[in-house]
């Protein structure tokens, strides 16, 4: 397999995470927000795999598996909620959901 410096792997994960965060903060469409969240989760999983490759152990992949399961459950519930929100507010604007203001 590749002999890549650990630094580069972690840096890649970091860049992907930051990009996901940026997307989360910038986009106003609820679907886009959820997608940015997925990107961030994926980046976290990448970090785990990189660490596993460093120590040549299976634990990283196990963690990745759990992250995956959690992401799946979260997406399922999240998308059901998106549908309910669309029913109620007739738009997918995240900023419209500000009843907790003040």
């Amino acid at each position: 397999m590749a002999e890549v410096p650990l630094r580069d792997g972690l840096l890649l994960a970091g860049i992907l995470f930051s990009l996901g965060l940026t997307g989360l903060l910038v986009r106003r469409n609820l679907i886009m927000v959820l997608m940015s969240l997925e990107v961030m989760l994926n980046a976290a999983g990448l970090a785990f795999i990189v660490a596993a490759a460093r120590w040549h152990q299976a634990d990283g992949q196990v963690m990745f598996l759990f992250i995956l399961a959690m992401a799946a459950a979260e997406v399922a519930v999240g998308l059901a909620l998106v549908r309910q929100i669309y029913e109620r507010f007739r738009s997918l604007d995240v900023d419209a959901l500000s009843a907790m203001k003040g």
Binding site: L21, L25, D95, L97, S98, K101, G102
Partner: protein, 621 residues
């Protein structure tokens, strides 16, 4: 004599019980407790008096120290009682007259809702007064002084639901406060200069350390005079006493006639050594007395309310006592105090009977012809009036008042002008007294009598009437008795009037006053109205009616500026501290509210930025 401490303790205990549990007691129980405690106190006083006069202790004084009150540095005032002829005489008068007045009020206040509160206050008053009289230490005296002031306030404003009564009570308290402040300044001066406030010690040190006319002595004496003037309602602080008539009549009888207003007289008599060392202060005492007796006498001549006539009369008679003190006739002042207590209390109680009988009518111009309706009251009040005016030889008032007037010229410190003032005052006294009697008891019946006094109200009247007559014959024994406590009056060497000459002129003054009153108020009442209608007469009448305009002067000079300053200061810069805190809180609140937008992206941004910041902080360490 060891029972001395019981004399103030009994009324005090009764006051506590009535204050705490009064509403649980029946009226009869409250009255029994209230009057009974003062009665017991009077009995104990009599026992102590018999013991004292039968077997006088060394130095004619007995001290009973209960405990040391405060112990701070060199200042160690004690709770102690000092009995000598002066305090004994005064306590006897206070307790017995007080007892009679309590008996009277048991029936007089019978219909009032706050029956037990009244007796609680009255008992507290008697306890404070006795503490004042028996005090061993000037600080304890001041405690009693303040106590009587408090009770005076509480009792004047007894019917507090009427706003005017509250205002009168406040006026009394504030005006006497001015005097009290002067007195406390005097106490400070005495303590800082002489190191003690224990009366006998203090007097010895005054005599030893301060020469005649020394500045400290004069200032201290004048400050004490200020206190006395406030409490005894003399010029210039006499304005509170006429308004204090808003209180129940037994209160007026006890506090504002017989006892509290004489506290000033007692103070000066007690500290006579200090006044002897400060002749100019003593002259001031006499001048105040002389001026007051004339001012009050003229004012009494024009009053309509029966109690206000008596109030101004009290101010005037205390002026006589101050005059006596001022010329060095110490024993005469105490003698007049005693007789005055008898007849003035009687006058007030009788006035109470009349007011009650005529269903709360106060104006003497709407009274008349009560001679046949209220016979007992008529005869007792006639005796009291004669005593006040000084009917020669029969009444007690004649002996005491004339002694003072004669001493005003004959004593070493006496002056002719004081004698003339006293004589004119005697004429005025006779005039206004008989004006009162003729208007109230003679002439046609103006207001019908709806209630007659019962036994509890009549018996005190009779006893006091008897004392008003008999008291005069106590003059010589009393003067002898008081000699160990108060120095004899030093007579001036030069000529001047003898006692007999002065007495004759006084009797003449009495007759002139009586005849003038007879003329204007019985024979031809039209003359009185004509006199008032006349322009000059009208102006004088209005001026004297308003107490020589003192109220108005004080209002313009002190009250209005004070109110103005308070109003201007309503929002001063100190307030801005508190409003500033409120404003700051609101500002921060508004600022923080802005951050709660309810938008998810904003919150996420906050979290992410916070984490970034935190990592930077961690990395920077």
């Amino acid at each position: 004599m060891r029972l001395l401490w019981l004399i103030p303790a009994l009324p005090l205990a009764s006051a506590m019980v009535l204050a705490l549990f009064g509403s649980l007691l029946s009226r009869r129980a409250a009255a029994t407790l209230g009057a009974g405690s003062v009665g017991l106190s009077a009995l104990v006083t009599t026992l102590v008096a018999l013991d004292f006069s039968g077997a006088p202790p060394a130095g004619h004084s007995y001290t009973q120290v209960l405990w040391t009150w405060i112990k701070v540095g060199g200042f160690e005032p004690q709770i102690g009682f000092y009995l000598d002829p002066l305090s004994l005489v005064m306590v006897l008068v206070v307790t017995w007259v007080g007892f009679l007045i309590h008996l009277y009020s048991a029936e007089f206040m019978a219909e009032d809702d706050s029956y037990h509160r009244f007796f609680a206050y009255m008992n507290l008053f008697v306890a404070s007064m006795i503490t004042l009289l028996l005090a061993n230490d000037l600080l304890l005296l001041y405690l009693g002084w303040e106590g009587v002031g408090l009770c005076s306030f509480l009792l004047i404003g007894f019917w507090y639901r009427v706003p005017a009564n509250g205002a009168a009570a406040r006026k009394a308290f504030i005006v006497t406060r001015v005097g009290d402040t002067a007195m406390s300044l005097g106490l400070f001066l005495l303590f800082t200069q002489l190191g003690t406030l224990q009366i006998q010690d203090l007097m010895q040190r005054v005599a030893a350390q301060w020469s005649a006319g020394s500045t400290y002595a004069v200032i201290a004496a004048l400050l004490l005079l200020g206190g006395a003037v406030g409490k005894s309602a003399q010029l210039p602080l006499q304005v509170w006493l006429p308004d204090a008539m808003a209180g129940p009549t037994p209160t007026s009888a006890l506090i504002h006639a017989a006892t509290m207003v004489t506290a000033g007289v007692y103070l000066i008599a007690r500290t006579h050594v200090l006044f002897a060392v400060a002749p100019s202060a003593q002259l001031a005492v006499a001048a105040v007395g002389a001026a007051t007796l004339l001012v009050a006498g003229f004012s009494a001549l024009t009053q309509h309310d029966i109690k206000r006539v008596l109030a101004y009369s009290t101010v005037s008679q205390i002026g006589y006592m101050f005059l006596a003190l001022g010329v060095g006739a110490w024993q005469a002042a105490i003698f007049h105090f005693m007789t005055h207590a008898f007849f003035k209390a009687l006058l007030f109680l009788g006035a109470g009977v009349i007011i009650d009988a005529l269903h709360d009518e106060h104006s003497i111009f709407r009274m008349g012809g009560l001679r046949s309706e209220l016979p007992v009251t008529f005869w007792t009040l006639l005796i009291a009036g004669c005593s006040l005016a000084g009917l020669p030889f029969i009444t007690a008032g004649f002996f005491s008042k004339d002694l003072i007037i004669w001493e005003a010229s004959a004593a070493e410190q006496g002056r002719l002008v004081f004698w003339m003032a006293g004589m004119l005052g005697a004429l005025l006294t006779a005039l206004y007294t008989f004006r009162l009697i003729f208007r109230v008891f003679f002439g046609p019946l103006a207001t019908p009598v709806t209630k007659r006094p019962g036994l509890l109200m009549t018996i005190p009247l009779l006893i006091l009437a008897m004392l008003s007559v008999v008291g005069g014959y106590l003059k010589d024994p009393l003067l002898v008795f008081l000699r160990p406590a108060l120095p004899s009056t030093i007579e001036s060497a030069s000529g001047g009037l003898t006692e007999a000459q002065s007495g004759t002129i006084a009797a003449l003054a009495f007759l002139i006053g009586l005849s003038l009153a007879y003329l204007f108020h019985l024979r031809r009442r039209g003359l009185a109205e004509a006199l008032v209608a006349n322009p000059i007469g009208h102006t004088l009448d209005q001026w004297w009616f308003a107490g020589w305009g003192f109220d108005r002067i004080y209002d313009k000079a002190f009250v209005q500026p004070f109110i103005w300053i308070a109003d201007v200061n309503k929002r001063d810069f100190v307030d801005s501290f508190y409003t500033g805190i409120a404003w700051l809180s609101e500002f921060v609140y508004r600022g923080l509210s802005e951050t709660e937008t309810g938008r998810v992206r904003w919150y996420t941004f906050g979290m992410a930025a916070g984490s970034a910041l935190f990592i930077i902080v961690v990395l920077a360490r």
